[in-house]
């Protein structure tokens, strides 16, 4: 029966309960069960609050119950502030009371040891069996300003008061209570309205993606901001992110675990799966998620988004009180990739009339500090700059000053233009204070540091473009799934395929390989070279030798039959000598392709996101430059075009130093075919085409070498 109930019932009980039981409620303000009671009261929760504690009759004026069963009225939500071994029995009691949601503060589960992880598995099972929506365990809880509910505990921190307009607010999803509070505080300081905040804890039964999907579905939530350490189900997350993008709700994420040291720390903190930081970054880009690098940048992005204004492009004008601040802002904004448009002559003249001759009037505009003493000067110059059609965002570096009613002038500027306005705090520590919220609502975002502010604006520009175009993955595919030759379709786990086999598969997928012939003897090799035409390369052909370079098994640029014969004996001899027991089938003789660029195309499997397509420069540059782009599958034409263009080496492909551009359509075609191959062939764990040689325009791209491995234990690749 229970399974048939509407699944939103649990969500309503969790976020919009009319009554809350606090199991382990306490009068001690140093204990979670004491802090949460205080927070519920302080937040103004209007429903019933039932402390449950067999040792107390009353806590701060609230009647206290010995157990859940003795509470007289209905209970929607239970907060469990109890020792970990009490959690499972208490969930049963919740079920008996038909409580549909629970927040489990208790620590001591998956983050501690195997026994804890097992208990956490039981929580997951019970959530499903008993139809209870569960937040936690190991969570600091949540805040829902839409319901005036602060069902959270934080040591030594008073949760911010009700924001002005939670019904038009931000939802925060945090995989750390401490960072969550920092984000809450940052929003509070900037006057950004928060609708709801959840600390997800160990996510036994409700995970990050569930909260993201829920918040996306709520009309009061306009955007989502998150601190993320890791997720376990990449597909589910991708789906939730796509829904948010389609709904026009920006998702901003501060992702921790960018390197080995911090990934280890995250694992011990919330047991977050490793996953690869570059894969997360790629998926975020694919799904239009705004990834930020610090809480300050998060606040800057949220402020820009919260104005409701969106930049039409990269054009920026800077108007500054100080010449030096103008130069710094110009540094940061143009360094971040935005365009400082040259203001039109009419606009420049208009501004020049207000200023002394030593002021700068093109862009940046330098008000020489006079805006601090001349009433209205700032407003007149800023409004003039905003009129320029090339300006998409107006950056204002201004010393806030009451004497000239800075806040009033800012509001007036906002009334004269509908372009985004970014106000930089030129003086450390000086903020619009209580006026921040008003300003944001008028369209003026406040941010501290020009460096952070510039990066934030770039990200908002990119998001706006992505949200506008968002093709999703529904664009028609021009390729049909490839047919993998039958004998490769299911391989023994861990099987590794050598060059010859992989090329057979790639050929079957319609991907060109360099002309080559297998040869079992030196004479066959010389004949093959004759047939292919010189110069040729000769490579040892062995299913057992995967890294031919390491056994000295390759000879390049051979220009005659004698060289080919010598190469044959040499590479087969080296192969046998250096790798004992390897089956040497002979050699592959390949035509040398010249005038092209070496690339790398690969497939790998991420533990969180599954198959990932990689692209980059080939050869020794791969490891040195790490100039690699990635996309989580599936991908469409737009994705592969983007991933080629985001590499640093793209300018070489597009035709560096007056050279002809290379055949990019051929590369895009191969990327799509490789992606389809990986999707239609689940056995494939790793594929490494390196190098793929791409020739100048319309001359194609050819696989020169490749190897592959089936899923399962293998350490070869």
């Amino acid at each position: 029966m229970k399974a048939a109930k509407n699944s939103s019932e649990g969500w309503d009980a969790l976020f919009f309960p009319s009554s809350i039981a606090v199991v382990g409620g306490s009068g001690d303000l140093k204990k979670p069960g004491g802090i949460v009671l205080e927070n519920l009261k302080a937040g103004g929760f209007s429903g019933a609050i039932y402390p449950v504690n067999p040792g107390r009759r009353e806590i701060n004026g609230l009647k206290c119950y010995p157990d859940l069963a003795s509470i007289p009225g209905q209970v929607d939500l239970a907060i469990l502030a109890v020792k970990s071994h009490i959690v499972l029995p208490t969930l049963k009691e919740c079920s008996a009371r038909e409580i549909r949601a629970a927040i489990i503060f208790s620590s001591g589960f998956g983050e501690v040891n195997e026994a804890g992880l097992k208990d956490q598995g039981r929580i997951r099972e019970m959530a499903a069996e008993l139809n209870i929506r569960i937040c936690g365990p190991n969570t600091m809880g949540m805040v829902n300003y839409l319901n005036k509910m602060q069902s959270a505990f934080v040591y030594g921190y008073r949760l911010p008061a009700m924001p002005d307009h939670p019904e038009n607010g931000i939802a925060l999803i945090c995989q750390s209570g401490g960072v969550g509070c920092s984000l809450l505080q940052a929003c509070h300081q900037r006057g950004l309205d928060v609708a709801a905040y959840v600390c997800t804890g160990n996510e036994a039964a409700t995970d990050f993606s569930d909260y993201l999907a829920y918040f996306t579905s709520r009309p009061e939530i306009k955007m989502v901001a998150s601190y993320m350490e890791g997720i376990s189900d990449g597909n589910k997350f991708a789906g939730a992110a796509e829904a948010a993008l389609a709904a026009g709700k920006p998702v901003v994420i501060l992702k921790a675990g960018a390197n080995e040291a911090s990934a280890r720390a995250a694992r011990s903190h919330t047991g977050a799966l490793a996953g690869s930081a570059p894969v997360y970054r790629s998926l975020f880009r694919q799904k239009g998620i705004i990834q930020v690098q610090s809480i300050g940048e998060m606040a800057a992005v949220l402020s820009l988004l919260a104005t409701g204004r969106r930049p039409a492009g990269k054009g920026v004008a800077i108007v500054a009180s100080s010449g030096g601040q103008a130069v710094i802002a110009a540094d940061k904004y143009s360094g971040a990739g935005l365009e400082l448009v040259r203001l039109g002559t009419d606009i420049q003249n208009k501004i020049a009339r207000e200023l002394p001759p030593f002021a700068g009037v093109s862009n940046p505009v330098d008000l020489t500090g006079l805006d601090i003493v001349i009433p209205g000067l700032f407003q007149r110059c800023a409004a003039a700059a905003a009129e320029d059609p090339g300006v998409d965002t107006l950056v204002l570096s201004h010393w806030l000053n009451e004497g000239i009613d800075s806040v009033g002038q800012l509001k007036a500027i906002a009334g004269l233009t509908d372009k985004p306005l970014a106000l930089l705090g030129a003086m450390p520590g000086a903020t619009p204070g209580p006026a921040s919220g008003d300003l944001v609502k008028c369209g003026v975002a406040f941010m501290d540091d020009p460096d952070v502010a510039a990066n934030a604006l770039v990200k908002v520009v990119e998001y706006t473009e992505k949200a506008r175009s968002n093709p999703g993955h529904n664009s028609p595919r021009s390729h049909t799934a490839p047919v993998v030759p039958a004998r490769y379709r299911s391989l023994r786990p861990g099987t590794v395929l050598a060059e010859r086999e992989v090329k057979e598969i790639l050929t079957a997928c319609g991907i060109q390989v360099v002309p080559e012939l297998a040869a079992a003897t030196a004479e066959e090799a010389a004949a093959a070279a004759q047939e292919l035409g010189y110069p040729v390369a000769v490579k040892v052909d062995s299913p057992d030798i995967l890294h031919k370079t390491e056994v000295d098994g390759i000879r390049l640029n051979l220009s005659g039959p004698e060289e080919v014969r010598r190469a044959f004996s040499s590479v087969t001899g080296q192969g046998a000598r250096r790798q004992h027991g390897a089956l040497i089938r002979g050699v592959l003789v390949q035509k040398m392709v010249s005038g092209g660029q070496e690339l790398l195309v690969g497939i790998s499997r991420d533990p969180v996101f599954g198959p990932v397509l990689t692209f980059g420069m080939g050869g020794i540059w791969v490891e040195t430059l790490k100039d690699i782009s990635m996309r989580v599958l599936p991908v469409d034409e737009g994705d592969v075009r983007e991933m080629i263009r985001e590499t640093k080496a793209f300018s070489i492909l597009a035709g560096a130093r007056g050279k002809a551009p290379l055949d990019l359509p051929a590369v895009e075609d191969i990327l799509l075919k490789v992606a389809l191959l990986a999707e239609s062939w689940p056995t494939l764990a790793e594929l490494d085409i390196n190098p793929l040689i791409v020739l100048p325009e319309s001359r194609g791209a050819f696989v020169v070498d490749a190897m592959a491995a089936a899923a399962g234990e293998t350490t070869v690749l």
Copy 2:
């Protein structure tokens, strides 16, 4: 007579006057001459203050004089808050009164137009002629807390009050009054003691380097912090920077003008010379200057330095109230290149005894928020982590809380260790407030953002190492100056030298070039190839053709005489066809060198710093990857070793993917020889060796192609 006076006299008058005249003194607090009088009073200046204004008898209780001549007592310093056309006559009056220093607020000089620039030149001349030390024009003035003197005007901003210990303080040199105030404010907020502040203005007679040298000489000044837009005399600056490094006084610079847009803005703001941002960056690195990217990073670096503690190395331990904050800090610190050392088992056990089982105790240490409620917990755990011998700096992410006396605990930790302590503000906006100064003096630096804090620490670690090793440029040189063949020693301005000539010069300097022979006919070319051995390359030989690729004048990998003959006709024909009138001398036949890596070595001339040595990857990668390092000449062995190692591609040179390392000593030797060539041959403006091929260990490096240009107008390179 005047020239014979001690040059420190003017400095004393500027920074330590006993009496000040304010020409253009005013009662209007919106005018510079009014604001400065107010500031002098507010700052508590104890000497005589003489407003000069013919229209007033008295200003705010100070007797006012019609001109400098009528002031009764001695005047040490004159502040000129007058219209620009009054400046020159007033300087003459100063001289008549034997005033030895002047601050010129007035704008309208070099930053406006040619006439202004000419007047500015006159100020420079008069400073020398009249023996007056001049600050400005177009300056907001200066503050010397050592003399309780606030001889500055800022619109709408009250200068910070006297710091606790100016006699142990920071000197600020700023090429913008507005940014200067931001820096003052940032120091004030962090409790960092400022000794003096100067806004340099247009630097007519006293420039950035003069102030740097002066402050380095003052015993009260412990470090220098600067906002710089540009300097005009690179050598002078380098000398001042070397003196500061040798004196153990860190110099921290926020340099604006990182790109074209902001360089343009800086030019219009202070007329700063362009100079190249990468050259500034290189020189800063060479001279141990700490370059920061924002005011926030400046404050973080200064805080670390102001503790007086220096990190012995890159080892870091993080102790955090919140698990999430611990992960973020781990992200940023290890991402910045610091090492999160694994704490010893004994230390881990000691910490574990204080914490519940779900806390992280290796590194980062996660106190799970309990440090906010349990008195002394934070101190005990932090002190334990500091004991680990691998820890050079202790990073503390802690929510400051009065209930547990956070500040007291921090001071106690500082008493137990002499390692640097970096306190991260985990909660936006929460700072130690008035306790900041105390904490810094005890050894605890406070900083906001983990991202900024981590970068700041890396810079302090690098500075500490540089200051410790500082070999200067006095290390013995193993090379003697090369002898440039006589006929090249002085070239007509703008002369461009082609491959053959440049190689002659390089050979004379002891630099190896690839074996090659000039050939005037096809037959000579074939014979040359025979002599050199195949494969060979054939290149058109013309003093007029500098970009051989662009005229299709190169054939590579030729493996027989017929190919060489064909290449001869083809490249000479192409050369003649594509560049009409070019003198074609024939071809150069060169031995192909294989198995090496293409590099680039060059000399260019920076308008500010003079000859600059560049190094990087050769070929098409040069422009695409911009993986270039630079050093301003002169350089020593240490410099060239460093510049090779700081390129991204260094790992290729050191032996990527199991390949043999390349012959780095040969490359270092060539870099030094090229540097000496440039120093001993002032005619040389540009030299471009591209490619230089470096072979595996002990096999040398060879110049394959090169060109050069003499100083003077030329647009060829």
